[in-house]
Symmetry: C2
Subunit: 280 residues, 2 copies
């Protein structure tokens, strides 16, 4: 497995892969890899000739400096994990390589980013759409893999690819959870044992939504009230949002009618966690 840090070298490598007419699977990550990433990497490995994993902690998608500064770094360990999964290339550029001085071109999106995390993390998704566009242009994958945990991100990226006519198949894989149900996230490492326990209320609230929906309760307000009460009962929690949205437009729905998503963002102490379940 090769570790490539320069854009030019990565592009040359991609050209040689294309020359051999091999397919490219791509898993973009910000490092601090966990089993959620591994599940994406394994699918990409199975479905493509060549597997490229990027590790780049993109500063422009952090709207909170503390969150960026405290995001876990473990490049050597990450490279080991990726190598164990038989990737062909790790692309791990530094920020001068990605945003050289004078950089001034951004990819932005209206509508979709005004709901859920977009409302509370201004600029976040413009950071995501810009870095993903750059990585897609460098790697030119046939298929790219994302986790359902970042549900809004997956919708934003599907829309990006459709609107800008990129010929890339976006694969969204199920959220990987710990045995007790907590969605895997690089940010879970920041939780102390008590916070880790409190964080279970997130999945608990989503399961409650799912069971209410299964019992034919379609009124979002009623479901959200139950979810809110579950989360408020847990210690160290502060709700960022609890929403039930249309799974395609991400607009709030008052009554569930068609594919919807229950989505939650909660601060547990100083760590913001997100999770979601599809209701259909």
């Amino acid at each position: 497995m090769d570790v490539i840090t320069k854009v030019k070298e990565m592009q040359t490598r991609v050209l040689s892969i294309k020359d051999r007419k091999e397919s490219i699977g791509f898993v973009p990550t910000m490092g601090a890899l966990h089993e959620g990433h591994v599940s994406l990497i394994r699918s990409a490995r199975n479905e493509n000739d060549e597997l490229i994993v990027s590790i780049y902690l993109n500063p422009t998608q952090f709207d909170n400096k503390d969150d960026f500064d405290n995001y876990p770094h473990q490049l050597d360990k990450d490279i080991e994990i990726v190598e164990r999964e038989n990737a062909d290339v790790v692309f791990a550029p530094d920020t001068e390589e990605i945003y050289p001085e004078g950089f001034c071109t951004y990819v932005t999106q209206g509508k979709l980013i005004d709901s859920l995390c977009g409302r509370l993390r201004p600029g976040h998704f413009n950071g995501v759409t810009t870095i993903v566009t750059k990585l897609f242009n460098i790697i030119r994958p046939d298929r790219a893999y994302f986790g359902q945990k970042d549900f809004q991100q997956s919708i934003v990226i599907k829309k990006l690819v459709a609107d800008l006519n990129m010929n890339i198949d976006i694969k969204v894989l199920p959220t990987v959870r710990d045995e007790d149900g907590l969605a895997l996230s690089s940010r879970n490492k920041r939780l102390n044992p008590e916070e880790r326990h409190s964080a279970l209320c997130i999945y608990g609230s989503l399961l409650k939504a799912k069971s209410m929906f299964a019992s034919n309760i379609k009124d979002s307000k009623e479901i959200i009230e139950e979810m809110t009460s579950i989360i408020k009962k847990a210690k160290h929690t502060r709700i960022d949002y609890i929403s039930i949205v249309n799974a395609h437009t991400l607009e709030d729905v008052s009554s569930i009618n068609g594919k919807a998503v229950a989505a939650v963002a909660v601060w547990i102490g100083n760590t913001r966690l997100i999770d979601n379940l599809i209701l259909e």
Copy 2:
């Protein structure tokens, strides 16, 4: 030569060209083709295996509805011209194909677009960067051809390609002029004979700038004053801007030191024309 109107069909065609490992030359146009376009098409024909010309009057780069409504349309004639130059494909999509309902992703640029035409045509260059990104993603050219007449556009597109890591060689070819010096433009058709005569003041003012610079006059203000007086003497003129800018950053320079561009935008009656000359 094939005329393709659907994005999917165009992408399939491009894949088959890539499969044969042939190079693609691309000339994006808004139609109303003149000898300036033909010079781009000929260069692209010489330098590539396959030549694709797009004809699409992009509404999002017009900030003025009158200008859009009055822009010349002549698709059949344009297709004839392109066929005569031995292009392989004309890509002529309609707006529903390019901006389907719900389209919401835009490519934007800071800095570079705040000077010259960017200052006076807000939104114009975001329209350009978005449509060019889409066309580049559909056509995936090795080389793309633009005219120096739209100098700021050529700089904006070079920056777009660099910032978003598109692996495309941007070729900028010299402005083609009528015998009397007027830069060819699709908008020249709108001038009546008297206005056509007045429009010569534009090139006249640029030649004056060039000769002053050649006589070692480096002070922008002094040169711009002479240019202004030449244009004001002509009938039916209203100056939009007369600027001398750094050829890379497009920032105004007070004293010419390194490669600079004298750039002019002037209304002749109801028609806005632009032109420029490099001073070096």
